[in-house]
């Protein structure tokens, strides 16, 4: 029975990491740099839902739609205001990475400034005992989160492989100039990747905000976990990011069954470090141009 509960916990937290990782991975797949400020998109979404729903009192579903629009806009804004100008100056990936860290710190502290450091709750879901499925206790919201991440897994795979936009994104990722010659407007494609990726961050922010509670540093923490999941699964293969996140969830939950609970984050860090050292392309990723 413990095993089932641990498995359930792994799926729940794995899904949460997956929600963050898939958007991040989509953006990396198209643009080939690490948009670590993705975590900021998640925080902003969660706090926007809090503000629009819990503070302003706008109906829940409308609040969600507004939140998703804001999330996409914020992500797109980051691209146009910071990344695109830097790319025009032919900045290296390291500069883009540092810039993304700068954006992340900036936004997190703006959230801290406006909302304060204390933990906030979005009081939409009632507290109740979870359902018992196969000896594991799990709440309806948690089941919903798992289902959403699985749907995203399938949807993103189909999107990247079969739709025109998806194929264009991969083309731009492989070779920007060549794609340009073939008539693909890579600035537009990149813009789309940020919009869709940040839309996914919006979904993540809403669900995570409902399930856990809000605090300003959640963006950094989630980004590290989501990033680890993406690296483990293979950062160039978007569905891989989701699978990698589940693996991280399993490693964390089964790991701290034996280790003291404080080591949970340590597991993620060590896993990340090991993969970066020995298999940066991850489990499913293709080793294309990672080591320059």
């Amino acid at each position: 029975m413990i095993f089932n509960q641990l498995l359930a916990n792994s799926l729940i937290i794995g899904s949460i990491y997956a929600l963050v990782a898939c958007g991040f991975s989509l953006i990396y797949s198209t643009n080939r740099f690490m948009h670590l400020a993705h975590g900021a998109s998640v925080v902003v979404s969660a706090y926007m839902l809090y503000w629009i729903f819990s503070v302003l009192g706008i109906p829940f579903w409308l609040s969600c739609i507004l939140t998703l629009i804001i999330a996409s806009a914020v992500g797109f804004g980051m691209y146009r205001l910071v990344y695109l100008p830097l790319q025009k100056k032919k900045s290296s990936n390291v500069i883009l990475l540092l810039a993304s860290v700068g954006i992340l710190i900036l936004i997190e502290n703006l959230v801290l400034l406006f909302f304060g450091a204390d933990v906030k709750t979005i009081g939409y879901i009632q507290v109740q005992k979870g359902m018992e499925i196969l000896g594991a206790v799990i709440t309806p919201l948690q089941v919903f989160i798992i289902i959403v991440s699985v749907i995203l897994l399938v949807a993103l795979y189909i999107f990247m492989k079969f739709t025109r936009l998806g194929r264009n994104m991969r083309a731009v990722a492989d070779n920007k100039e060549l794609a340009g010659i073939m008539g693909i407007n890579y600035k537009r494609i990149a813009g789309f990747s940020f919009i869709i990726g940040s839309f996914l961050a919006g979904i993540a922010g809403i669900l995570i905000g409902l399930e856990q509670n809000l605090e300003p540093t959640m963006g950094l923490n989630l980004m590290i976990k989501g990033f680890t999941g993406a690296i483990v699964g293979g950062i160039t293969f978007v569905p891989g990011a989701i699978i990698g996140s589940y693996l991280l969830g399993i490693a964390e939950n089964f790991g701290i069954w034996w280790l003291p609970s404080g080591y949970k984050d340590a597991i993620a860090f060590i896993l990340l470090f090991i993969f970066l050292l020995f298999k940066p392309s991850g489990i499913f990723g293709i080793d294309k141009g990672i080591k320059k």
Partner: protein
């Protein structure tokens, strides 16, 4: 009593100058994208604190030991990341920071974890205690000047030129038969050593350390200083430290509550970092671009 506050700021600046100049040695002159520098700082601080508090080791020994132990960590890091380049190297070193932070946090039997180490003594040399802040400032200033002098000498030496060559054209250097790994390792170890002794100074000044001082926020601060000052600019790192530590202090004159001061300071650092990257990527005095 403003002088007391000024002394406090100057001590911090002295410590951060050592951190900035040592990071620039690795990042700017050798081209090693080391985001793990804060880990060396933390290792140095904890080493010095634990040796003096728990084992009663005299300060001068603990001080040097802090540098040596941090240097060891530097060696481990360069060895582990031997084959990585570019942003993957940067991320792996960042991961290293996280792992060290995790160790400091969880190895409670050694470091007391989140409880931290209170009551770290002020330094004393052979019976002569450095008790007042003024004398501590003089001590830090001496260490800072000596450290900068040593690093400056390294940069200007033929060895230093080899480091810059390794940054600009590693393949070319290898063709000439130079062992570039050995070069990089030496640079990293020296860089880590000085970060370690800066950590020792920090621990004995603040008298209380816990893992939270050696995490992302402080890493961003050091990075911003080095990048703003300019890659491979010795002068730039020093000037930049003064500017970046002093600017947020101007906020104090606006009488803001501390719930605003804290985030405001971080926002300023982030804006400076973004501003430099976008408008003047070479930094104030830099000669070289970030690769």
């Amino acid at each position: 009593m403003i002088e007391a506050y000024l002394i406090h700021l100057l001590i911090l600046i002295g410590i951060y100058v050592i951190l900035a100049v040592s990071l620039n040695l690795a990042l700017g002159y050798t081209g090693l994208l080391n985001l793990g520098h804060i880990a060396f700082f933390g290792v140095g601080a904890y080493t010095s604190a634990l040796l003096t508090k728990s084992l009663g080791v005299p300060f001068p020994v603990a001080f040097i030991a802090a540098g040596l132990f941090a240097g060891l960590f530097g060696f481990i890091l360069i060895l582990a990341t031997k084959k990585l380049k570019g942003d993957y190297l940067a991320l792996a070193t960042l991961g290293f920071s996280f792992v060290v932070y995790s160790l400091l946090l969880n190895w409670t039997s050694l470091t007391k974890g989140p409880l931290g180490i209170p009551g770290i003594q002020k330094p004393s040399f052979f019976g002569l205690a450095i008790s007042s802040n003024v004398s501590f400032l003089i001590f830090v200033a001496i260490v800072c000047v000596v450290s900068c002098f040593i690093i400056y000498k390294i940069i200007k030496s033929p060895f230093g030129r080899l480091l810059e060559a390794s940054r600009d054209d590693e393949v070319g250097l290898k063709v000439l038969g130079k062992n570039t790994f050995k070069l990089k390792a030496k640079a990293m170890i020296v860089s880590a050593f000085f970060a370690g002794i800066a950590g020792s100074l920090f621990a004995h000044y603040i008298s209380f350390i816990d893992p939270s001082s050696f995490y992302i926020t402080d890493l961003i601060l050091i990075l911003t200083i080095v990048i703003a000052g300019g890659i491979a600019s010795f002068k730039g790192s020093i000037v930049s430290t003064f500017i970046i530590i002093l600017i947020p202090e101007g906020l104090r004159f606006f009488e803001m509550p501390s719930s605003i001061l804290g985030p405001a300071r971080q926002i300023i650092y982030a804006l400076i970092l973004l501003g430099i990257l976008m408008l003047r990527p070479k930094g104030l005095f830099g000669r070289v671009d970030l690769e």
